[in-house]
């Protein structure tokens, strides 16, 4: 096999369990070397608000600030730390538009989301212009192969992309989402998970949650991101 990230050919070694049990063989599209560069977050060491890796338990400084504005925090769970390798991955996946990379984390995410059952999984949408340029929604690409997605949000175009702003500008961003009322109605009373690719400041996810709660007040919402 050829690694999707480093283009080196590699051989996936089988474990004893792979041989003995009759089960579908999960093949990883990236090699072990590349996989090691991503830092997986231990759930015990994560901030209970945003899911970031920290040395102590409890809320991190950012979440304490958020708590003043939103007493009910997101309880975000993230799979990986946003390090250099992750940044490189997103650059190639989102900026260059290499859609094949959406398969990189399918199996790890599958195991991860299995532990968090929910009635529906709602991805953060992209605006129409970005979708046309890229040809895909990056969040749906990553999570679409893992769980069935329920798209009920729309996003209007931002004049400046979140990625091009600094922290305070990002935090000042106005609500970009609109709920699709027809699609939201069946969600009443359900437990859903909002999915996004990266949690940076939390602004996007709080906006999305606000928007959904305004449309369907009885929703229970938690969030999951690939990176924090």
């Amino acid at each position: 096999m050829r690694c999707l990230l480093c283009q080196q050919s590699f051989i996936q070694s089988l474990t004893l369990a792979d041989i003995i049990y009759f089960r579908v063989l999960t093949t990883s599209p990236i090699c072990l070397n590349c996989h090691r560069k991503f830092l997986q977050i231990e759930p015990d060491l994560a901030c209970s608000g945003c899911g970031r890796l920290q040395t102590r338990q409890g809320l991190c400084q950012d979440c304490l600030t958020w708590q003043k504005k939103y007493p009910q925090l997101l309880h975000n769970r993230a799979l990986f730390t946003y390090n250099d390798a992750m940044q490189e991955f997103f650059k190639q996946y989102k900026t260059s538009g290499d859609y094949q990379l959406s398969n990189c984390f399918t199996s790890v995410l599958g195991q991860f989301l299995k532990k968090m059952p929910a009635d529906d999984y709602v991805p953060i949408p992209t605006d129409t212009k970005s979708y046309q340029r890229r040809g895909f929604n990056p969040v749906c690409g990553i999570f679409g192969k893992v769980v069935p997605l329920y798209e009920c949000l729309n996003k209007r175009e931002l004049p400046v992309k979140q990625a091009h702003k600094n922290r305070s500008e990002r935090l000042a961003t106005a609500q970009p989402f609109q709920a699709n009322m027809d699609k939201c109605r069946p969600l009443a009373g359900k437990q859903i998970i909002l999915l996004d690719d990266v949690y940076t400041t939390g602004r996007t996810l709080f906006h999305a949650r606000d928007c959904l709660l305004r449309a369907v007040p009885s929703l229970k919402i938690t969030t999951v991101t690939l990176a924090r």
Binding site: Q92, S96, G97, D98, G135, F136, G141
Partner: protein
């Protein structure tokens, strides 16, 4: 958009832009970016073929993952370019002040003729023959006739080393350097220096195309890059391949008569190439794993340290660098050395330190096999029978030795656990070349 920036250059545009550009620039060549059959898509830029299913985007279009780093090609887009018009004035003077040896002059004259007669040619010149300088008269003649010229190499290090030398020789001509992460945007120049991948972005642009180090990775193995060369040159144009170690594919083309061939077997200072000494050390790897220096290596290193001789120590794997460095610092406390590998962030600085003789030794992988010149250097290859050391890699590594006029000789040692085919061929090739040079 300036029309000059499209001369011989392939740009990717969507349908609406291609329509407006067709009105704006008469004579615009427009072709769909990908060709589709029932099951397969082919990228028109790099000729990569994929099954439709594997490269489909959710929006329904297809894209090419192979040449993604040059900007994504999508099936709903178009490749456009304008025919090369050669809008150049050309230099009036060659600003190079060196001199060529008689053998070099002869070769330079031949290169001039190749460029003039638009021939395809392979120049087999030994490592350290002074290939770049030999190109100057020919390049100058072509440039002054208003021809568009490109020098491409598979290695970015080679390009970066060539640039100042070329700029000095052609001070009147602007040279555009193109490579993967370069900050400067493309603009139209008569002289282009680029990595071979960048040639995919040109379409019938060059009258003279020189490929340096043809046998280097990834050019030799990559069919896509051979296509890039054919695509980037004009239908009537000269193409010159330079190498010290031609592979079987090139030599076959010579036998078929597609390529002309000439040798330059003598180094510019007239000394023969150093012949490698082979040392059999059956369990060098085991010894290294146990934390002992293989005895052959120990003996060689002691000798070098005694003579205060600087040297390069090549290893087949990056993973070997660390334990070996540890052993070396334990056994030879006074030896000033460091390790360097491809992804090393301080790679350029370390090589520079070695050049300035601040270091006595470098432990390295195959990345330093070519394109680098140190004044007074000897070479040891540990595990030379490993499959990463191909014939050309071994010849190139041996060719690091004795490149300078003042230090024309030196030792090359191969330490191996068995003789590989590549090693035998490398020794044979070096012997052959020395014989051709009359030694």
């Amino acid at each position: 958009m300036n029309c000059e920036a499209l001369f011989g250059r392939l740009e990717i545009v969507d349908q609406t832009t291609s329509k407006t550009w067709q009105d704006l620039f008469p004579g615009l060549i427009v072709q769909p970016a990908m060709s589709l059959t029932n099951t397969v898509v082919t990228c028109r830029r790099c000729q990569a073929r994929y099954s439709k299913k594997s490269v489909q985007l959710p929006s329904g279009t297809y894209y090419c993952p192979t040449c993604l780093l040059l900007g994504r090609v999508c099936s709903n887009e178009y490749l456009v370019s304008l025919p090369e018009k050669n809008h150049f004035t050309g230099p009036t003077e060659l600003t190079w002040r060196g001199t060529l040896t008689p053998a070099q002059t002869e070769a330079a004259e031949m290169i001039k003729q190749i460029f003039k007669q638009h021939r395809q040619h392979l120049l087999w010149a030994v490592t350290g023959a002074g290939k770049t300088e030999m190109l100057f008269p020919g390049l100058f003649a072509a440039l002054s006739q208003g021809k568009r010229v490109a020098i491409a190499s598979p290695r970015i290090d080679v390009c970066l080393e060539l640039l100042p030398r070329l700029q000095q020789a052609f001070a009147q001509t602007e040279i555009m350097l193109l490579y993967g992460d370069q900050p400067e945007p493309y603009h139209y120049t008569q002289f282009v220096l680029c990595t071979t991948h960048q040639l995919l972005r040109f379409y019938q642009a060059f009258d003279v195309l020189v490929i340096d180090e043809v046998d280097a990775f990834p050019f030799a193995q990559d069919q896509q890059l051979h296509f890039a060369v054919q695509q980037a040159r004009k239908t009537i144009s000269a193409c010159l391949y330079l190498t010290a170690t031609p592979g079987p594919a090139l030599l076959q083309q010579v036998r078929k008569g597609v390529l002309g061939l000439s040798y330059l077997p003598r180094r510019y200072h007239g000394h023969p190439l150093a012949l490698p000494h082979r040392h059999l050390a059956l369990n060098w790897y085991k010894q290294l794993r146990k934390g002992r220096l293989p005895s052959v290596l120990n003996r060689l290193l002691k000798d070098k340290v005694q003579r205060q001789q600087s040297f390069l120590l090549f290893v087949p794997k990056i993973a070997l660098l660390k334990p070996l460095a540890q052993l070396l610092s334990n056994n030879f406390a006074n030896l000033k050395f460091t390790t360097v590998y491809a992804a090393d962030p301080k790679r350029a600085e370390k090589v520079q330190a070695m050049r300035q003789e601040k270091l006595t030794a470098l432990l390295t992988t195959t990345i330093l096999e070519r394109g680098v010149t140190f004044k007074n250097i000897e070479v040891i290859v540990l595990g030379s029978d490993d499959s990463v050391f191909t014939t050309s890699a071994l010849v190139q590594m041996a060719g690091r030795v004795g490149r300078h006029r003042d230090y024309p000789t030196g030792r090359v040692d191969f330490i191996c656990a068995g003789y590989s085919c590549a090693m035998k061929q490398a020794t044979k090739q070096i012997k052959q070349i020395n014989q051709k040079a009359g030694f």
